[in-house]
């Protein structure tokens, strides 16, 4: 699924010990579109930015399993249930690809998990909204994964090799997610009046949070310029958001439901949709931990981690016994 904010966290400072020469050579490699690999020299700030971004992204995938997992036992048909199960499993897989990429930068898996569980690390604000109806599963696939794809496709060309390669894998699978979401919406929209109303209700609730996924406006985005210079990021938050609105509004029209924005108009001159102001206060509140489900999401993750401890212990004990036997 996806990360946002791609650039949340404290201001980065370059360590003074790093020579200008090394920095210049590094930037030259970036400018020449060379990929940076795990053991290559890199500025500490580049490393820290990537660790923060990739781990936030991984955490988002892991927490992102919860809103959808909420409907696994109540999916309307066995087919839908099997599909949703596969999708939730994919989210876990995406989290693992990304943790694996982040580890190449020298941070341990346990450290990242500890930071998530302690609440120190952030994850995408979108997963702090509840999934109150089956239509929300459609809306998540269509909108949330749709927004994720907009963000992630440019990441396949990110300057850091292991992250770029993980994103290629993620993007291939993400496309299934988005289509299955749209198909749920389409089925509802072609159903009874009540079903169509469910789809509209889900769009009403997920539209604005989906737009927030792209992060703050460019004028407010702290790390964007540096991330662009390092080619971690290829497009600005506002550019990607605009692209998302342009394609999604047309899809909503096809579904016959309407985007909950009275200010939405098509601008003939630019060829883009103009949309209303995002409620940034809501965004800040959710990021700060006060969204509808922040506490519940984290508590559930902590509970799952602690509940699984005996399984990890048992596996470790078995492995120790096996290797002791092999040695004897």
């Amino acid at each position: 699924m996806y990360t946002q904010g791609l650039d949340q966290g404290g201001a980065e400072q370059t360590a003074l010990s790093e020579t200008d020469e090394k920095m210049a050579a590094f930037q030259q490699r970036i400018d020449a579109e060379e990929k940076i690999e795990a053991k290559d020299w890199m500025p500490e700030a580049y490393r820290r930015t990537l660790i923060r971004q990739i781990s936030q992204h991984a955490h988002s995938e892991i927490i992102g399993m919860q809103p959808e997992g909420n409907w696994l036992t109540r999916a309307p048909t066995l087919k839908r249930k099997a599909i949703l199960l596969a999708k939730v499993q994919d989210e876990a897989g995406h989290g693992l690809y990304l943790y694996s990429a982040a580890e190449t930068l020298g941070v341990s898996r346990d450290q990242m998990v500890a930071d998530l569980l302690s609440g120190k690390a952030k994850y995408s604000s979108i997963f702090n909204y509840p999934t109150v109806s089956w239509a929300d599963i459609g809306a998540i696939g269509w909108l949330v994964d749709g927004a994720a794809i907009m963000n992630q496709i440019p990441l396949c060309r990110c300057s850091y090799g292991p992250y770029a390669r993980a994103m290629v894998r993620v993007c291939k699978e993400e496309s299934f997610h988005q289509r299955q979401g749209f198909e749920i919406m389409l089925t509802l929209c072609r159903g009874t009046e009540a079903q169509k109303a469910m789809a509209q209700d889900a769009l009403n609730r997920w539209w604005w949070p989906s737009l927030m996924m792209f992060g703050p406006n460019d004028s407010e985005s702290k790390h964007s310029a540096q991330s662009m210079a390092w080619k971690i990021k290829r497009f600005s938050n506002d550019e990607l958001r605009q692209k998302f609105v342009d394609v999604t509004v047309q899809q909503a029209e096809f579904l016959g439901i309407s985007v909950p924005d009275p200010d939405l108009t098509f601008d003939e001159e630019s060829g883009h949709y103009k949309f209303g102001e995002i409620d940034w206060q809501e965004f800040m509140d959710v990021v700060a931990g006060n969204g509808p489900c922040n506490k519940q999401r984290l508590a559930k993750r902590v509970d799952a981690h602690e509940g699984g401890e005996w399984v990890r212990d048992a596996a470790q004990a078995y492995a120790n016994k096996q290797s002791a036997r092999a040695a004897a």
């Binding site: 897989g93 894998r169 078995y318």
Partner: protein, 95 residues
């Protein structure tokens, strides 16, 4: 997290017979069999492979990127190893 972290394994996938194994990513596992199972579940959910290798990351011996230029230097001045080094006059066929 006072406990010992499970070791890291690098994962290599052969996508079909006739092709080499290719690095896909890594997994953590308590033992070798679990590493294979985890690699299968993480990296081949869509039939991406017909064969998997996993190897403990700490067992891989790698060249040092900082020494790349010096390490590969011996090949730099042996351009006569490439067919394009040799000039063949026009009119000579099948060479």
């Amino acid at each position: 997290m006072s406990k010992q972290e499970w070791p890291l394994y690098e994962v290599f996938i052969r996508s079909k017979s006739g092709l080499s194994h290719r690095h896909a990513g890594s997994v953590h596992a308590a033992d070798d069999q679990m590493a294979l199972d985890n690699a299968r579940d993480t990296y081949t959910r869509r039939s991406e492979g017909v064969s998997l290798w996993v190897v403990r990351s700490d067992r891989i011996i790698a060249s040092d990127p900082a020494e790349t230029a010096a390490f590969f230097e011996p090949a730099e001045d042996k351009i006569y190893r490439h067919p394009t080094f040799y000039e063949i006059p026009d009119g000579v066929e099948n060479l």
